[in-house]
C-alpha cells in the first residue's frame, strides 16, 4: 500500500487514525502493530512471514546478546541472519547474473519479488541489535513492542531509517496531544503534495526522456530529463519522509528529519549531511565509525598493519588511507543498498570519490565571497545532477552515452519538440520545485508565536494542497479503455 494510493488515504488511514486516537492508551501499541502488519500484508501477504521472522530473529538475538558472554558471535550471527534475507530477496539474482556473465555460467535465477521495505526494516533491525550489543539500550522483552519498532507502517516502506536508541523511549512511553496531531496532519499534507503534485509531474517528464533511445535525444532534452529527475527524486523521497514523519507525529512518535534542503549544498559532503540523513547517519554510526576505530583495537591484524603503515608513511597519510578505505566500503555499501545494479554501485563510489577529494583538498570548507559560494554551489549541483543520471540509467552504457550527449560530445536526433516533454504544467511544477528546494518556506508549519490569521491562512493553503493532491490521485485512477466497446 502506498501513501499516495486511494486505499491508504481514504480507507486505511482514517480507520487506523480513528481507532488509534479512540482506544485506551494500553491498546494503542496493539492497534498500531496490527495496522502495520495489515498495511504490509495488503500488498504482498506472503512476505509478512519474512518480516515477522526478522522480528523473532532480532528479539531472540538481542536477548541472547544481553545474557551471554559470546556477544560478538551472537551479534554477527544475528546480523548475518538479517542480511541473508536481504541478500536472498534483493541481491541473489544480481550475483547470479554477474557470475554467469563472468564465467559463462548457467545458474538459474530465482523467481522472487523483493519484499517492499526490506532494505529499511533490515537496517532498523540491525540498528537494534547493535545498540543492544553496545549496551546503549536494554533489550526489548516485549516482542510486540519490538515488532512495532520494526514494522511501524509510517516508515516501513521508504524510511526514514529510525535507529532504535532514538525511539526506544517513545515505544515505551509516548503521548498523543492536539499539537502533535495537528502538526502531523500538516506535515502529511505537505509530503503528499510534494509527492503527488511535484514529484509525479516531474517524474513523467523524466520518464519520457529516459525511456527514449539515446540516439533520439539531443543535448537540451538530456539536460531537461536530468534536471527533472533530480527534482523528482528529491520531492518523491522527501515527500515520503514528510508523510512518514507526519504520520509518526499523529501516532505520538517524533522521527528525526530525513532531508534538510540538500540542493542548497555547496559540496557533496554537505549534500550527504542534508540528503537521506537517516541513511547517512546509519552508515556513519554502524559502518564508518567502526571501520575507523578498527586500528585502535588491541592486537588485531588491522591494528598491526595500520601501525606498520603509519611508521612507513607517517600518520597523516595513514589516516588518509584509512579514511579512503572506510569511504570506499561505506560508499560501495551505500550504492549497493540503493539497488542491486552496477549503476547504483558506481553512483555510490562516485559520491564517495568526491567526498574523499573534498576532504583531501578542503573544498568543502565555507567560502566567504559570493562568487566562491556560487561556484561551490554550481559544482555541487553539477556533481549531484550527473550522479543522478547514473542512478537513473538502466545500464552503465546508457548512462555513459547520456552524459556524453549532455555535454554535446555525442549528438542524437530528437523525434519530438520540447513541447512533447514539457507543457505549461510541467514548467510550473519545475519552477515551484526549484523555488521550494530552498528554505524559503521552512517555517511555514510553525505555530508558536504566530497570529491566528496567519495560521488560518496556512491551514487554508494546506487544505487546498490536500484537495489538489486528492484530485491528482483520483485522476490517476482514470483508466479509459481506448476505442473498443465493453
Amino acid at each position: 500500500m502506498l501513501f499516495s494510493s486511494t486505499t491508504f488515504l481514504f480507507l486505511f488511514l482514517p480507520i487506523v487514525c480513528a481507532l488509534y486516537l479512540l482506544v485506551r492508551k494500553e491498546l494503542k501499541d496493539y492497534v498500531l502493530l496490527l495496522a502495520s502488519i495489515f498495511f504490509y500484508a495488503w500488498g504482498e501477504p506472503r512476505y509478512v512471514a519474512v518480516m515477522l521472522l526478522t522480528v523473532i530473529l532480532n528479539y531472540v538475538g538481542a536477548i541472547l546478546i544481553s545474557k551471554y558472554k559470546c556477544k560478538k558471535v551472537l551479534l554477527l550471527l544475528t546480523i548475518l541472519g538479517d542480511l541473508s534475507f536481504l541478500f536472498y530477496f534483493k541481491y541473489f539474482n544480481f550475483f547470479v547474473e554477474n557470475i554467469n556473465a563472468l564465467f559463462d555460467g548457467h545458474i538459474d535465477f530465482i523467481k522472487v519479488i523483493m519484499p517492499i521495505g526490506i532494505s529499511f526494516y533490515t537496517f532498523q533491525a540491525i540498528s537494534y541489535v547493535v545498540d543492544v550489543y553496545r549496551e546503549e539500550v536494554e533489550p526489548q522483552r516485549n516482542i510486540y513492542k519490538l515488532a512495532l519498532y520494526i514494522t511501524l507502517f509510517p516508515q516501513l516502506v521508504a524510511g526514514p531509517i529510525v535507529k532504535y536508541h532514538d525511539v526506544a523511549d517513545q515505544i515505551e512511553n509516548r503521548t498523543v496531544d492536539f499539537e502533535k496531531v495537528a502538526y502531523g496532519v500538516k506535515r502529511f499534507i505537505v509530503g503528499l503534495a510534494k509527492k503527488v503534485l511535484l514529484a509525479n509531474t516531474l517524474g513523467a517528464v523524466a520518464d519520457k526522456v529516459f525511456t527514449q533511445p539515446i540516439d533520439q535525444l539531443d543535448c537540451m532534452t538530456t539536460w531537461l530529463g536530468a534536471i527533472c529527475y533530480t527534482f523528482q527524486i528529491y520531492y518523491d523521497f522527501s515527500g515520503y519522509s514528510d508523510m512518514a514523519i507526519g504520520l509518526g507525529s499523529i501516532f505520538g512518535f517524533k522521527f528525526l528529519e530525513n532531508f534538510n534542503y540538500p540542493y542548497i549544498s555547496r559540496s557533496i559532503t554537505e549534500y550527504w549531511r542534508r540528503w537521506h540523513i537517516s541513511l547517512g547517519s546509519w552508515f556513519r554510526d554502524y559502518m564508518f565509525m567502526p571501520i575507523m576505530f578498527l586500528p585502535l583495537a588491541r592486537n588485531t591484524a588491522i591494528s598491526r598493519s595500520y601501525r606498520w603503515v603509519m611508521k612507513k608513511v607517517g600518520s597523516k597519510v595513514a589516516n588518509a588511507i584509512m579514511t579512503f578505505i572506510a569511504l570506499l566500503i561505506v560508499w560501495f555499501s551505500t550504492g549497493f543498498w540503493h539497488g542491486a545494479g552496477w549503476t547504483f554501485i558506481v553512483w555510490g563510489l562516485y559520491n564517495g570519490f568526491f567526498i574523499f577529494i573534498e576532504t583531501l583538498t578542503g573544498w568543502n570548507r565555507d567560502r566567504k565571497s559570493i562568487g566562491g559560494k556560487a561556484l561551490q554551489h554550481f559544482y555541487a549541483m553539477l556533481v549531484i545532477i550527473l550522479g543522478l543520471v547514473i542512478f537513473r540509467s538502466d545500464t552503465m552504457q546508457y548512462a555513459w552515452h547520456y552524459l556524453l550527449t549532455m555535454f554535446g560530445i555525442e549528438r542524437g536526433e530528437t523525434m519530438y519538440h520540447l513541447i512533447y516533454y514539457v507543457d505549461r504544467i510541467e514548467i510550473i511544477a519545475l519552477t515551484v520545485g526549484i523555488v521550494c528546494s530552498a528554505p524559503l518556506c521552512s517555517k511555514m508549519l510553525e505555530v508558536e508565536g504566530r497570529s491566528q490569521l496567519r495560521i488560518a491562512a496556512v491551514n487554508l493553503w494546506l487544505l487546498a494542497l490536500f484537495i489538489l493532491s486528492a484530485a491528482s490521485i483520483a485522476a490517476s485512477t482514470y483508466n479509459p479503455f481506448i476505442y473498443f466497446r465493453f
Binding site: 486511494t6 480507507l11 494500553e26 519530438y416 495560521i455 491528482s472 465493453f486
Partner: protein
C-alpha cells in the same frame, strides 16, 4: 479454568460477530444472504383451453397484481400474488377463485421470490416455501426458490367457479443447513484461542467501551453546559450523517434525490420509426415551448428507430402542456412521459429524477388523471397509431416533484420517532466522541481544529458511499468488481491489489475529483496529452498516437501482409468473388500540417512508413488485386471541406464520399453496370455533432469519447465546427437489418451483391455504398465480438458468412492504422 470458560464464551461472541459481518464466508450459498427479499410471490395463470377466464384472490396481507405479461392470447387474466416474508415463519392461506367462461382447465402456479433487479440484472432474492398444500393436499414439503428458479405446480382439471385453497408457510431462506459448520467451528476455536491469549487486552477494551457508554449517558443531562465547538461540530456531523444516509431512508439513491430536489425540468420523448436520418415525419407544435431543439439525435439511417426528446421548464405549480403533432405518413408514435434526462457521472445511465404528471389526454381520451410520479427509469409510455395528415392532440399537466413521506422508505417502514431518536443518539455519540478527543488531545486551536475536522472528514467521506456502478461509458470499460472476502487466500494473494482496483473505481467523489484535476490540467496546458492521443487546444484538432500508420516496417512483416492478401484473393477467385482492397488513409497523414509545426511530426518516419505502404500496394497490384488508397484525392478534397472529424479519427461523410468515388472507379472497371451515386441524390445538412457508432461528441451528453480522455471541461478556444452530412433522398426504399456486428442492406435500384468487411471507418461509408448494390452485407471486424488479437482472422471467423452470402464483390476496407494487422487475415490459429 475461569479463563478457559471466559475464552470459550468470548470466542463464541467474537465468532458470532464475525459470522454476521462476513456471512458469505460461512454460508454455502451466500446469495441467499446477500439478496434477501422481503416479499415472496406466487404467479397463478390458466393453462389449456379457456376463454375470458379470471381469477379472484382472497387472503390476508396480500397484494394482487394483474400484469400485462401474464395474459395469454385469449385474454385470460392470471394474477401475481405478493406477500411479506420475514425470518419468522408466516403461514398464508390464499383462496383462488377462477371464474368467468372458464372450461375445465388447469392452473399453473409458480412459487418464486421478488423480481429484484440491480443495474438491470436480475439478482437471486431467495424465499423458502414450506408445507405447500392445495385444497388440503400436500404438494411440496420445502422449496427454496427465487425469481429465475421458481417451483412450478400444475393443478389439473379445475372447474368453473370452484375455489382452490392454497396454503403454505414462508420465510427467509437462511437456516442451519445453509451454514458451513466447518468454518464456524474453526472460527470458534480460533476466536477462543485468541480470546484466551488476549484476554487482558480485550477485557480492557470492553471495559473502556462500557465506561464510555456510561459516561455518554450521564452526559446527556449535562450537554447543554458544553457551549463550545463540540456542539457545533456534532450538529454539523449529524446533519452530514443524515445526508449520507439518504440512500438508506429514501427509495432514491443519494444522487437521484439531490438531482430531483434541484430539478427544474420535465421531459417527454417521442419515439418513431424512420429509415432516413433526415427530417422528422411529423410537424410538432408545443405550448410551452421546449427548452431544447426538438430535432432527433443525429442517428445514421442504418438505425431505423429515432427519438425526439422534449424538455420543459418545470415549476412547483402544475403547468399545462399541449402538443400538436401532424403526421406526414401512416405509422405509430410512442409517447413517453418521464423526468428530465440527466446522465450519471459515468455516462452509462440516467439519474432517476422524478417529475409529477397528471391529466394526460390524447385526442380527448383520458389515459390517466391521477398524479403519477415518473422518471426516465419509470416512465409512462403509450403507443399511438397515426394516419397521414392526422393531427394528434396531447394534453397533460406537470410539475416539479413534491417530496412526501411516501418517498422516504425509512419513514414508511418505521416511523418518525425512530428517526428522531436515531439522530439524537448520533448527536450525543458524536458529542461524546469529541469530548473524549478534547480530553485526550488538550486544548485545541480553532483554525487547527477546523483543519483537522475537515481533513478527517475528507478522508472518511470517500468510503461512505462506494458506487455500485458496473461500467463506465466515459472510460469505455467495465469497472473493477469487488473481490469477495473469501478470496483473500486465493488467486495468488492479490486480494489487496484487486480490492484497490475496486476501491479506485468506486470511491465516492472520484469523478468530481477527476473533473477538478482536468479543469486545472486543461487550463494550464497548451497541448492535452493522453497515452493514445494529443489534443491541440488552439486549433481544436486531436490526433492519434502513433502518428504514423505502421510501426513495424520490417520486410518480413510487409511480406506477411502481402501474402495474406494474396491468399484472400485466391480464396475469392476460387469462389468466383472479386476482391478489392480499400485502405482509408490516416487522419494524421492527411492533416500532417497541423502536427508538424506543433508537435514534432517526424517527416522522415512518415516517408519511411509511406514507402513501406507503397511497397505493399505495389506487390498487391502485381498480383492483379485492385488496391485503392485515396490519399491524394483526400488531400485535395480537404481543401473544400473537412474530410475527417476534428476530434475523432473517423472520416466525415464528405471524406467517405471521396473514398467511395475512388473505390467505384475501380469496381466499375469490372462491373460497368454498377450504379454510382452522386451528391445530387443526397440531402445536405449541417451539424456540429460527430456521426459514428457511438454518437460521440464533445459538446453534449452523452460524452462517449473514449478515444480521448476523461474530461467534459475541454477548454475549446476554437469556434465550433459544423460538418456536412449527406442523407440519401431514397432512404425509405432501403431495407436494413441490423445484427450485432453485421448490417444487411437491400436496395431495389442497386445491382450485384457486395460484402464489405472492415473497421469502424466504414460506418460513414455506408451512407453511399449500399445504394450501389442490390444487397450489401457489412461485417464490422472490431466490434468486440472476438478478442482484439483475433479480430483480423477473417477467413477463420467469417469464411462461412462469405460463402453463405455469395457476394459478387468483396471489399476489404480498413484504416491505414490497421494495415499491419492484415497479416492475420488467413491465420487459422
Amino acid at each position: 479454568m475461569k479463563r478457559i470458560i471466559k475464552a470459550l464464551f468470548g470466542g463464541l461472541g467474537v465468532s458470532i460477530v464475525l459470522c454476521a459481518l462476513f456471512p458469505s464466508i460461512f454460508l454455502k450459498n451466500d446469495a441467499k444472504w446477500t439478496y434477501q427479499s422481503d416479499v415472496g410471490r406466487v404467479d397463478v395463470a390458466f393453462a389449456g383451453e379457456v376463454c375470458d377466464g379470471k381469477i379472484n384472490v382472497q387472503g390476508k396481507t396480500l397484494r394482487v397484481d394483474r400484469p400485462q405479461w401474464i395474459h395469454d392470447d385469449k385474454h385470460n387474466q392470471g394474477v401475481v400474488v405478493h406477500f411479506p416474508v420475514s425470518y419468522l415463519r408466516k403461514t398464508y392461506q390464499i383462496t383462488l377463485k377462477p371464474w368467468g367462461k372458464t372450461q375445465e382447465t388447469s392452473l399453473i402456479m409458480s412459487f418464486r421470490g421478488k423480481d429484484l433487479r440491480i443495474q438491470n440484472q436480475r439478482k437471486p432474492a431467495y424465499v423458502r416455501f414450506e408445507n405447500i398444500r392445495l385444497n388440503g393436499k400436500a404438494v411440496a414439503r420445502e422449496k427454496t426458490v427465487w425469481h429465475n428458479k421458481p417451483f412450478k405446480y400444475r393443478l389439473e382439471k379445475i372447474s368453473d367457479n370452484s375455489n382452490v385453497i392454497l396454503s403454505f408457510d414462508v420465510r427467509k431462506p437462511v437456516s442451519a443447513s445453509d451454514i458451513r459448520w466447518d468454518m464456524v467451528i474453526g472460527l470458534f476455536v480460533l476466536c477462543s484461542l485468541f480470546v484466551f491469549f488476549s484476554y487482558g487486552a480485550i477485557r480492557g477494551f470492553v471495559c473502556s467501551t462500557i465506561e464510555w457508554i456510561g459516561v455518554m449517558i450521564s452526559d446527556v443531562g449535562k450537554f447543554l453546559k458544553f457551549h463550545n465547538w463540540k456542539i457545533l461540530i456534532s450538529v454539523i456531523l449529524t446533519l452530514l450523517a443524515n445526508i449520507l444516509c439518504i440512500p438508506l431512508w429514501t427509495e432514491l439513491d443519494y444522487a437521484d434525490f439531490i438531482k430531483t430536489l434541484f430539478s427544474k425540468e420535465a421531459g417527454l420523448s417521442l419515439v418513431y420509426e424512420d429509415k432516413t436520418s433526415g427530417e422528422t415525419p411529423f410537424q410538432l407544435q408545443s405550448t410551452p415551448q421546449p427548452l431544447n431543439d426538438p430535432s432527433p439525435f443525429l442517428i445514421p439511417a442504418t438505425n431505423p428507430i429515432k427519438q425526439i426528446d422534449l424538455n420543459f421548464r418545470a415549476r412547483g405549480k402544475w403547468q399545462k402542456l399541449s402538443l400538436q403533432l401532424k403526421s406526414q405518413r401512416d405509422g405509430k408514435i410512442e409517447l413517453r412521459l418521464r423526468g428530465p434526462k440527466i446522465f450519471d457521472d459515468y455516462g452509462c445511465s440516467y439519474y432517476s429524477v422524478l417529475t409529477d404528471w397528471r391529466n394526460l389526454k390524447v385526442n380527448g381520451t383520458v389515459l390517466f388523471d391521477a398524479n403519477k410520479t415518473l422518471s426516465l427509469k419509470k416512465c409512462f409510455s403509450k403507443q399511438i397509431p397515426v394516419k397521414e395528415n392526422e393531427t394528434l392532440h396531447v394534453e397533460a399537466e406537470f410539475r416539479r416533484h413534491h417530496f412526501t413521506t411516501r418517498d422516504f422508505a425509512f419513514l414508511k417502514s418505521g416511523n418518525l420517532w425512530y428517526f428522531i431518536t436515531g439522530n439524537l443518539l448520533l448527536f450525543f455519540l458524536l458529542l461524546r466522541l469529541f469530548g473524549a478527543f478534547a480530553k485526550r488531545l488538550g486544548r485545541p486551536r480553532l483554525s487547527d481544529t477546523l483543519l483537522l475536522v475537515t481533513f478527517f472528514c475528507c478522508l472518511f467521506i470517500p468510503m461512505m458511499n462506494l458506487s455500485d456502478g458496473v461500467k463506465s461509458a466515459r472510460e469505455n470499460r467495465m469497472l473493477a468488481v469487488k473481490p469477495e472476502p473469501r478470496e483473500i487466500f486465493k488467486k495468488g494473494f492479490d486480494y489487496g491489489k484487486r480490492y484497490q482496483n475496486y476501491f479506485n473505481d468506486h470511491f465516492w467523489g472520484r469523478l468530481a475529483l477527476i473533473k477538478l484535476q482536468d479543469v486545472i490540467r486543461n487550463k494550464l496546458s497548451y497541448v492535452i496529452r493522453v497515452p493514445r492521443a494529443v489534443y491541440f487546444k488552439e486549433s481544436g484538432w486531436d490526433f492519434f498516437v502513433p502518428f504514423v500508420s505502421i510501426m513495424d516496417c520490417r520486410p518480413t512483416t510487409l511480406q506477411a501482409i502481402v501474402q495474406n492478401l494474396i491468399q484472400l484473393d485466391l480464396f475469392c477467385r476460387q469462389n468466383n468473388i472479386k476482391l478489392y482492397v480499400f485502405e482509408v488513409p490516416k487522419k494524421e497523414s492527411i492533416y500532417k500540417e497541423f502536427l508538424s509545426d506543433k508537435y514534432g511530426f517526424d517527416e522522415k518516419e512518415f516517408v519511411k512508413v509511406s514507402q513501406a505502404q507503397e511497397a505493399i500496394r505495389r506487390e498487391v497490384w502485381k498480383h492483379h488485386i485492385p488496391y485503392v488508397y485515396p490519399y491524394e484525392e483526400l488531400r485535395d478534397a480537404a481543401q473544400q471541406d473537412l474530410v475527417f472529424f476534428k476530434c475523432a479519427h473517423h472520416w466525415t461523410d464528405w471524406g467517405a464520399f471521396v473514398g467511395y468515388c475512388e473505390l467505384m472507379k475501380e469496381v466499375c472497371k469490372d462491373f460497368p453496370d454498377m450504379p454510382v451515386v452522386s451528391l445530387k441524390d443526397y440531402r445536405k445538412s449541417k451539424n456540429y455533432l460527430q456521426r459514428d457508432e457511438y454518437q460521440r461528441n464533445y459538446f453534449s451528453s452523452p460524452r462517449h469519447f473514449a478515444q480521448f480522455f476523461n474530461d467534459e471541461t475541454l477548454d475549446i478556444t476554437s469556434p465550433r465546427t459544423f460538418y456536412t452530412y449527406y442523407d440519401h433522398k431514397n432512404g425509405d426504399k432501403m431495407s436494413i437489418k441490423v445484427g450485432k456486428f453485421t448490417k444487411d442492406f437491400t436496395y431495389p435500384e442497386g445491382k450485384h451483391k457486395i460484402m464489405l468487411i472492415g473497421t469502424s471507418q466504414n460506418e460513414n461509408f455506408l451512407q453511399f455504398l449500399p445504394y450501389s448494390a442490390a444487397q450489401t452485407k457489412y461485417i464490422r471486424l472490431n466490434f468486440g465480438q472476438v478478442k482484439t488479437e483475433d479480430e483480423f482472422k477473417i477467413l477463420k471467423l467469417y469464411k462461412k458468412d462469405i460463402l453463405a452470402f455469395k457476394p459478387d464483390i468483396l471489399i476489404l476496407s480498413i484504416g491505414a492504422g490497421h494495415i499491419s494487422r492484415c497479416r492475420d487475415i488467413c491465420s487459422t490459429k
